[in-house]
Symmetry: C2
Subunit: 186 residues, 2 copies
Amino acid sequence: MNSLGYTLLSMLVRKPCSGYELKGYLELFWQAHHSQIYPLLNKLEKLGYVVYISENDPIHKKIYSITDEGKEFLQEWIQGKTAKPITRDEFLGKLYAISIIDPKRVEELFQERQAYFQKLATIHKKTLDEIDEQFGADLTGEGWESSFGRYLICKRRYDMDLAELEWCQWANDQYRQKFNNKNFSN
Amino acid sequence: MNSLGYTLLSMLVRKPCSGYELKGYLELFWQAHHSQIYPLLNKLEKLGYVVYISENDPIHKKIYSITDEGKEFLQEWIQGKTAKPITRDEFLGKLYAISIIDPKRVEELFQERQAYFQKLATIHKKTLDEIDEQFGADLTGEGWESSFGRYLICKRRYDMDLAELEWCQWANDQYRQKFNNKNFSN
DNA sequence: TTGACCATGTAATTTGTTACATGATTTC
DNA sequence: GAAATCATGTAACAAATTACATGGTCAA
């Protein structure tokens, strides 16, 4: 099984989910396409690590639940070595060449970046508030344990969004100062 | 050409580099293997977007330089749509299931995470200091323009390292509080 | 009735990872 | 003289992306 497969199992510890839901939750720290998720869930099901209960649920929606065997399998992975986090950021790839980018385009790139993370920050703040509302900010609500991991991860993501926004402002300011002083040329 | 290929071009705007160097610089925001980088550089060379000057340089080291055609090609990419940043984080994949992880292992996971980002923060701080030293903190040194992009990216990375470390401390504290209160069970 | 979102799947292609291969240099 | 780091390459395999394919729901 690959890392994404284990991660799907990990997310099913919190609550039974459909592939579509998993894709959404996953976006906090792992962007996966549905074309990866659905086949993996089918594989996990064949292996007996998840079961699906399509019961009375609307139309063609498959809610997966982790099995005890799935939990054991997951534990083995959790005990093993943890791979380093991976990032790939095209914006930064472009920014590397900032000295030869048209100033209008630079401003545009920063603006797009800020808008993107502003949107994410808003979404993640809302999610955090919802978790607090559901379980109580003093962490006393029922079922809290199973959502604790997601809560920590969501908080991290929100913190990172804010750090990214702060950096954006700083970097854009630096650029403007630089540009006004020396006019950059090149 | 793919995003990594364009990003390599972008990095060559700053200064001529070997594939090995590029791999190192890239690690700030894009983790690529040498088995991707070397073939891409050969491809870019065949297309005339980079040239290599192995001249008097030690043994088998190939220093690549971007051409004017390469810069034009790069500009087209920079003008186009920017793909969203990608992250994949196994640690967070494990953390999702924190409610069923042995507390000792949880502490270990947090410790490893902190050590990892502490190490990165130290490296990135050092790199930032070197850039400041080389060009002057008031951004007046010669050749500053071409390293400005790298400077911004390096600062971002350092900020993110610190944010990650702060979150780690917060999250570990939350976990300990939670664990001491309710003993988590499960 | 159009567009956004929910919902799942497969196939073709591209990208990324791991393994195979080699060899020099530097530091301890 | 052993280990780490510098340095480049290819091949086999695994994973991710994009395209193809289908169909339901809900709100403006």
